[in-house]
C-alpha cells in the first residue's frame, strides 16, 4: 500500500524501505514503522486468532493494549506488533492459527461458545475426575497465544540493568509530563522522564488542530525540545513503566533501538517524588462483534494516517463518546477517508468548534447514537447504529468502524503506587482520591482536555514534586495553582456502559485477550461472582497480557449496571504489575554470576579441581572424577595432603572487654585462653543448638584471634554485637576472613614438608598439638600457624595474607613433591573428619539437638553462670531430659545397596532417627555412619535398621551402634 504524502506529523522515512517476511511471503515497510503499522500497510487485517473461540482479530490499539496483535518474530512468540520496531529481514508469523489467519481450522469453535461459558475451565470436564487430564491436555494445546520453541534462540536480551536516581521521576511524556519535568527541573534537581512511546508528545504528537494559532504537534515538538535542552532532565523514550512502588520506585524496561546494547533491559528509578501523567486511552465500546478486524479506537486510525502515513480504510463510521472522535473524523476526512457518519453517545456537551467543523466537512453527525453491532467476519463490512435510548437503528456500510465509549484514565501506575481511586461522576473515569506521600498526578487523567489546562496541571505537579523533594518553590507553586484555577476544568465524560439493546447472549467482548464477552460477565454475576474483582478471576477479564487496558473500566461499569449500583459507588479492579509485559529474560536480568573465589582458586583449577558452590564461595570439592576421593583420602592418611580452607572465618577481637564478649558467646571458659595455644570451643544459640565452632588464640593483651566455620563467617560480628548489646562493653571486631587465606597441610609427612619452607622449630615439644605460632615462611611471608587436626592427622593450618597464598601454595607443592603431596578437596575432608568423628555444623547437628546431644558437652563450662553464656540455660534444661536425639556412630553391615546420607533409621515401623553422613571407608575397611537417633537406641552395641528408598525400591540394612570416633580414637596421630 502506498503511503500518504509526507506531513509534519509523520514518524516514518518512506525513502528507507525495509523488507521483511510475513507468513512465508515477502513484504515491505519503511523506516520508523512498527511491525503493526508495516503489516497494516501491507494489507494485513487479520493479525491473529483469539484465545478461546479462535475469532479473527485485527489491529486494535497502537500501544500494545491487547494480545490481538501478538505475533511470532523470528521464532520468538508473543511479540507486541504495535511496539516492536520493524527490522530488516524479520520473519513474522501470526499466532494461535491452524491454517492461515484468514482461514483458521479452529475458527469453528466460535460456533460452540455455549460450551465455554465463564469459568468453564473450573467447572466442566472435571467429572469423572479421570477424564480431566485428557481434557486438560487438549484445552491447553488449543489455547495459548504463541508457541515457545525450546530449541530456538537462546538469546538473552536482558543482559543489562540500569539503576537511576532522581529527585523527581515523571511517568508519561505527554504535555503534562513534559511540563512537569520542566517545572521540576527549575529547582536544579535531577529529573527522569519516562515515556512508553518512541517520541515525547503524547496525544499532541499527531494532532494538527490549531490552538493559539499553533498546530498541537508543533507544541509537542517545542516542549520536547525544551526538555531535551534542559541539562538536568534525562529522557527515556520507548521505556514503558511496569510499576510505581513504595518510596517512589519506578520500574520499567527500556526497548533499545536496532543495533543497541540489548533488545530491552530493566530499569529502576528511585526518586524522592514522582509525577504520574500517564494520560488516557479510549474506553472500548462494548457492542456485538466489537472485535472484528477493522473495529478500532479512533486514535488508532488517526495515528496510522498521521504518524505512519497509512490510510486505515476507505469508508469509516465513527461511534464515539469523546471530542477526540470528532477531531479524528475531521482529520481522517482530510487524509481522504470517506466518513459515512459520526455517531456520538453523548447527546450534548460536544465541543461546538468541532461540531461546526464536522458540519463544514459535510460529515453526518449523530449525537445520541452509538454502534450496536458490527457486520462482517474477517473484516468489518458495516455497522448497525442505534440510538442510545434504544429507539431507531440504522445500517451503514463501512470498512472501518472507529468506536469508543469515551475515555478512561491509565491508572496502572497509581494502582501499583497504592493510590486510592474513585469513580468521578463528572469525568466518567477513575481518578485518584488520595495519593501516597510525595506522589502527584497531572494531565488528561484528571479529566482535563484543554491543552493549556493540561500543561498547567503538569507544571503544578512538577513544582509540587520538586518541593516535596526539598526545593523551596512556594511562590512558584502559588502561581501555578492560580494558572490551574484559571484554566478550563475537567470535561464531562461519557457514561455509556455498553451499547443499547445488547442481548445477554451477545458476542460483545469486554476483554479480547481472554475472549471475555458481555455474556460471560452476565454468567459470572449469575453464579455469584458479582463484583468486579471476583468476576475478573472467574471469567478471566483483564488477566491477559493487555491487563487493564481493554476490560478495565468497562467490567466495573457493566457489573454495576447489571446490579443496579449507582455510578458513584462504582469500584474497579486492581491493576496488577507489570503494567506492560516485559520479556521474561528482561525480568531475569543479566544472569549475575558474582561469587567468591579463594586466593588459591587458580592454583587448584590448574590441578584439575572440580568446584562446587559453598555459600558465596566456589570451592574445590574434588580433584578427580572419582567422587569417592579414594586417592585423596589415602594420601592424607598415609602421606601428606593440602586443602584450601580459605573460606574459614577469621577474626580479630580486641579491647578491654574482648574477653567478656568471648565468655558470653563461647560455651567454654575463655579466660583459660593462653598465648601460643589454640583453645577450641563452640557457640550455641539460645536453645543450646550448636551454631559455630573454632579456635581462639590470645595474640596480645586483650587481643585475640579466632576462627569460625566458613558458613558462619558472615554472621559472626553481628552475633557478638547482638549478644552483648545491653552491656556497653568496649571491644572491637575485625573480619579477616578475606584478608588471610588458609591452607591445611595434613598427614604424617606434614611436618617434613613444612620444615622445608620455614626455619621455625616444628618439633613436637616446641610446637605441640593445639599450639599456635607466628612463623615466617619462604622468602619472608608472615604466617599464623595453628596445629590442629580436623581430619584426624598431624596438621598445620597456615593462615597467610591472601596475596601471598599463591606463593605459599607453590612453595608447599614444591616442598612436598618428594613426598608425593597432592591437594584434597572438601569431599575428602568431609570423609576424613567423619572417620575421626568430628562434626560439621548443620550436617551432624540440627535444631532438635543441643551441644550435649552431639557429644560436645565437654566444651561447656556449666559452672559459669556469671558470664551469661548464650545457650547455657537451655543446655542446663535439656541435660536431664530423655528421649532426645543423640549423635552415634554406626558400623553398617555390608549390603548390596549401601545406605546413603539422609536415609532414615528405624526400629520396626518406628522412625528413630536418620543417617547424617555415611561412607564406605577404605581406611577402616567397612562402612561407617554418623547418625542422630533417639537415646533409647543410642547405647553402644545395639543394632538399628536403616531404611533406604532412593528410587522407589526400598531396602533395609542393619547397623551396630558404636562410638562416633572410628579412626584413631585416642588421637595419637594428631599429637604425633
Amino acid at each position: 500500500m502506498a503511503r500518504l504524502p509526507a506531513s509534519p506529523t509523520q514518524r516514518i522515512d518512506p525513502s528507507r524501505p525495509i523488507r521483511f517476511r510475513y507468513w512465508g511471503g515477502e513484504a515491505e515497510g519503511v523506516a520508523g514503522d512498527t511491525v503493526a503499522s508495516a503489516l497494516y500497510a501491507a494489507g494485513v487485517r487479520v493479525f491473529s486468532r483469539s484465545l478461546k473461540y479462535h475469532r479473527p482479530r485485527g489491529l486494535y490499539g497502537l500501544d500494545g493494549e491487547s494480545a490481538n496483535t501478538f505475533v511470532a518474530i523470528d521464532g520468538v512468540p508473543n511479540e507486541a506488533a504495535e511496539t516492536t520496531l520493524l527490522r530488516p529481514g524479520m520473519a513474522i508469523a501470526a499466532q494461535n492459527v491452524r491454517g492461515s489467519p484468514e482461514r483458521d481450522l479452529y475458527g469453528i469453535l466460535d460456533r460452540f461458545d455455549g460450551l465455554m461459558p465463564a469459568g468453564f475451565y473450573y467447572r466442566l470436564f472435571h467429572r469423572p475426575a479421570r477424564l480431566w487430564p485428557f481434557f486438560q491436555e487438549r484445552l491447553r494445546a488449543m489455547a495459548g497465544v504463541g508457541v515457545l520453541q525450546p530449541s530456538g534462540s537462546r538469546e538473552r536480551p536482558g543482559r543489562f540493568e540500569r539503576y537511576l536516581n532522581a529527585e523527581v521521576a515523571v511517568v508519561g511524556g505527554g504535555p503534562a509530563g513534559m511540563a512537569a519535568a520542566l517545572a521540576a527541573a527549575e529547582g536544579g534537581g535531577r529529573v527522569c522522564l519516562f515515556e512508553r512511546r518512541l517520541h515525547l508528545g503524547g496525544h499532541l504528537d499527531w494532532r494538527t488542530r490549531l490552538v493559539d494559532g499553533q498546530p498541537l504537534h508543533r507544541r509537542a515538538t517545542e516542549l520536547a525540545a525544551r526538555v531535551a535542552a534542559c541539562p538536568n532532565i534525562r529522557v527515556f523514550t520507548h521505556a514503558p513503566v511496569t510499576g510505581v512502588w513504595g518510596e517512589n520506585l519506578v520500574t520499567g524496561f527500556l526497548i533499545c533501538p536496532e543495533g543497541g546494547i540489548a533488545r530491552e533491559y530493566h530499569y529502576e528509578c528511585r526518586a524522592r517524588s514522582v509525577v504520574v501523567a500517564s494520560g488516557c486511552t479510549e474506553r472500548p465500546l462494548v457492542f456485538e462483534h466489537n472485535d472484528r478486524p477493522g473495529v478500532m479506537p479512533a486514535t488508532t486510525a488517526w495515528r496510522l494516517a498521521a504518524s505512519y502515513g497509512v490510510l486505515p480504510g476507505r469508508r469509516a463510521v465513527f461511534a464515539g463518546g469523546d471530542d477526540s472522535s470528532l477531531e479524528a473524523a475531521i482529520e481522517l476526512a482530510g487524509y481522504g477517508v470517506e466518513v459515512a457518519a459520526v455517531a456520538d453517545a453523548r447527546a450534548e456537551g460536544h465541543d461546538p468548534e468541532l461540531v461546526a467543523a464536522i458540519g463544514e466537512a459535510g460529515i453526518r453527525f449523530l449525537p445520541g447514537w452509538t454502534a450496536g453491532a458490527a457486520r462482517g467476519t474477517n473484516r468489518v463490512t458495516g455497522v448497525e447504529l442505534r440510538r442510545i435510548d434504544g429507539g431507531r437503528a440504522e445500517e451503514l456500510r463501512c470498512d472501518l468502524l472507529l468506536a469508543n465509549a469515551g475515555l478512561q484514565s491509565l491508572i496502572g501506575p497509581l494502582s501499583t503506587l497504592k493510590a486510592q481511586l474513585g469513580y468521578c461522576t463528572r469525568t466518567g473515569m477513575f481518578q485518584p482520591t488520595r495519593l501516597p506521600e510525595r506522589a502527584f498526578v497531572a494531565g488528561s487523567m484528571l479529566g482535563l482536555r484543554d491543552v493549556a489546562a493540561i500543561e498547567a496541571s503538569g507544571r503544578l505537579a512538577g513544582l509540587e514534586a520538586a518541593a516535596a523533594a526539598g526545593w523551596d518553590a512556594e511562590s512558584q507553586i502559588r502561581e501555578a495553582r492560580d494558572a490551574v484555577r484559571n484554566a478550563p476544568g475537567p470535561a464531562a465524560g461519557c457514561f455509556l456502559a455498553c451499547a443499547p439493546g445488547i442481548g445477554r447472549g451477545a458476542k460483545a467482548f469486554v476483554d479480547f485477550d481472554e475472549d471475555g464477552s458481555y455474556k460471560n460477565v452476565v454468567e459470572s454475576a449469575q453464579q455469584g461472582f458479582d463484583v468486579p474483582e471476583l468476576a475478573k478471576r472467574f471469567g478471566g477479564f483483564g488477566l491477559g497480557p493487555g491487563q487493564y487496558h481493554v476490560p478495565g473500566q468497562n467490567l466495573a461499569m457493566i457489573m454495576a449496571a447489571l446490579a443496579g449500583t449507582p455510578l458513584d459507588q462504582l469500584s474497579g479492579t486492581t491493576v496488577r504489575p507489570p503494567l506492560v509485559p516485559p520479556r521474561l529474560a528482561t525480568l531475569a536480568g543479566p544472569g549475575l554470576a558474582v561469587h567468591k573465589e579463594t586466593p588459591l582458586h587458580d592454583a587448584q583449577a590448574a590441578l584439575g579441581a572440580i568446584f562446587r558452590n559453598a555459600g558465596a564461595w566456589h570451592r574445590a570439592r574434588y580433584f578427580s572424577t572419582d567422587l569417592s576421593c579414594r586417592e585423596e583420602i589415602r594420601n592424607v592418611r598415609a602421606n601428606v595432603g593440602v586443602l584450601d580452607s580459605s573460606p574459614l572465618g577469621k577474626f580479630r577481637i580486641y579491647g578491654p572487654d574482648a574477653q567478656k564478649a568471648l565468655q558470653r558467646v563461647y560455651v567454654s571458659d575463655m579466660s583459660k585462653t593462653k598465648p601460643g595455644r589454640c583453645k577450641y570451643s563452640a557457640m550455641c544459640n539460645d536453645t543450646g543448638n550448636l551454631m559455630d565452632d573454632g579456635v581462639v588464640v590470645e595474640i596480645g593483651p586483650g587481643d585475640y584471634y579466632f576462627t569460625t566455620s566458613s558458613a558462619r563467617a558472615g554472621a559472626t560480628v553481628e552475633w557478638f554485637r547482638y549478644h552483648t548489646r545491653h552491656d556497653g562493653w568496649e571491644y572491637q571486631l575485625v573480619n579477616l576472613t578475606d584478608t588471610l587465606g588458609s591452607l591445611n597441610l595434613a598427614g604424617p609427612n606434614a611436618r617434613k614438608v613444612l620444615a622445608k619452607i620455614t626455619d621455625a622449630d616444628l618439633s613436637n615439644a616446641a610446637f605441640p598439638y593445639m599450639g599456635y605460632r607466628e612463623i615466617v615462611v619462604g622468602d619472608g611471608v608472615p604466617v599464623r600457624c595453628l596445629r590442629l587436626g580436623f581430619v584426624g592427622e598431624l596438621s598445620y593450618e597456615l593462615h597467610a595474607p591472601s596475596s601471598y597464598c599463591g606463593y605459599l601454595w607453590d612453595l608447599i607443592m614444591a616442598a612436598g613433591a618428594e613426598f608425593g603431596i597432592r591437594p584434597f578437596g572438601l569431599e575428602a575432608q568431609s570423609c576424613l573428619r567423619a572417620e575421626k568423628g568430628h562434626v560439621i555444623i548443620g550436617t551432624e547437628s540440627e535444631q532438635r539437638v543441643t551441644l550435649t546431644d552431639i557429644g560436645m558437652g565437654f566444651l561447656w563450662d556449666s559452672k559459669d553462670t556469671a558470664s551469661k553464656k548464650v545457650g547455657a540455660p537451655a543446655l542446663r534444661h535439656a541435660s536431664g531430659q530423655t528421649d532426645r536425639l543423640k549423635l552415634v556412630g554406626l558400623r553398617i553391615d555390608q549390603a548390596e545397596r549401601r545406605p546413603e546420607d539422609g536415609d532414615i533409621v528405624i526400629d520396626g515401623t518406628e522412625v528413630v532417627g536418620y543417617l547424617c553422613t555415611t561412607r564406605m571407608s577404605e581406611t577402616l575397611g567397612w562402612q561407617y555412619g554418623l547418625a542422630l537417633i533417639t537415646d533409647r537406641h543410642a547405647p553402644e552395641g545395639g543394632t538399628v535398621q536403616i531404611y533406604s528408598n532412593p528410587r522407589g525400591t526400598p531396602s533395609v540394612t542393619h547397623g551396630t551402634v558404636v562410638a562416633p570416633h572410628f579412626y584413631d580414637p585416642e588421637g595419637a596421630r594428631l599429637r604425633a
Binding site: 543489562f160 580486641y654 579491647g655 576472613t737 622445608k756 619452607i757 591472601s802 612453595l811
Partner: protein
Amino acid sequence: MTATATARIRRSPVRFDATALERTSRDGWDIVRRYSDEGGGPWLVDLSHRCRWDLQHPDVGNQRPFGVPVPSKPGEVAISDGFAVNRMNRTQASLWHLGGNDRPATPSGVGFTETTDGHCMLAFLGPETASVFEHLSDLDVFDPERGLPRLVQGPVLHVPCQVVALGSNAVILTLSRGYGRTFAEAALQFARPCGLRPAGEARFDEWFVRWASTRSSDPSLPSR
C-alpha cells in the same frame, strides 16, 4: 628450610583480559601500569595493592591517622596527603592509601588493623563513570545534596561495598577480596554499553594528581 626457589609475588584478586604494556613491581606486588587499547574512558583500574587499614576506636572522631583528622560524621570522607579517611560509623573508619608509591607503615595503636589483603579495590574513572555506575548499583553515590567526596556503604552488583565518589568521573570502591575477579568481570560486562575498559594504575595516578591539585586550588571545595 630448604625450599625457597619459588618467586615471592603478591597476587591481586583481579585479572583483566587485556594485554599489559607496562608493569612494575612494588612491595611484592606485580602491578600493571598500562594496558594496550585502554581507550578514551571510562576505565576500570585495579588498585587492590594499595594499602588499607581498619581503624576502630570508641572516640574515632578524634583520631588523626596519618595526620588526617577522621571526619566527624559517618559518610564523610577526608582526603589529604594521598590518604582517604572514610568515616563508616560511630566507632569505625577505613583508611585508604591512594597517592604515592611508598608503603606506609601501619600506624601505632591497637585500633589499626591492616586489611590490604582483605579487599579488592577498584577505581571507575573517566567520562560516563556515572552511567557506568547506573548499570551496577542502585546506590545514589552522586547525590548532589550530600556533596562529594562521600562514602556510601551498600551493594554494588549485589556485593557489599564501600564506595567513595570523588567526583562525577571517579568512584573508588572496596569489596571482599574473594569477590574481586568475578566482580570485575561482571562490571566490565554490564557496563559494556558505556565502553568501560580495563586500565593500568598509571591512569589512576594521573587522574588523582590532577584531582588533588584541582581541589587544593579551589577554595570553594570542602575543607580537607
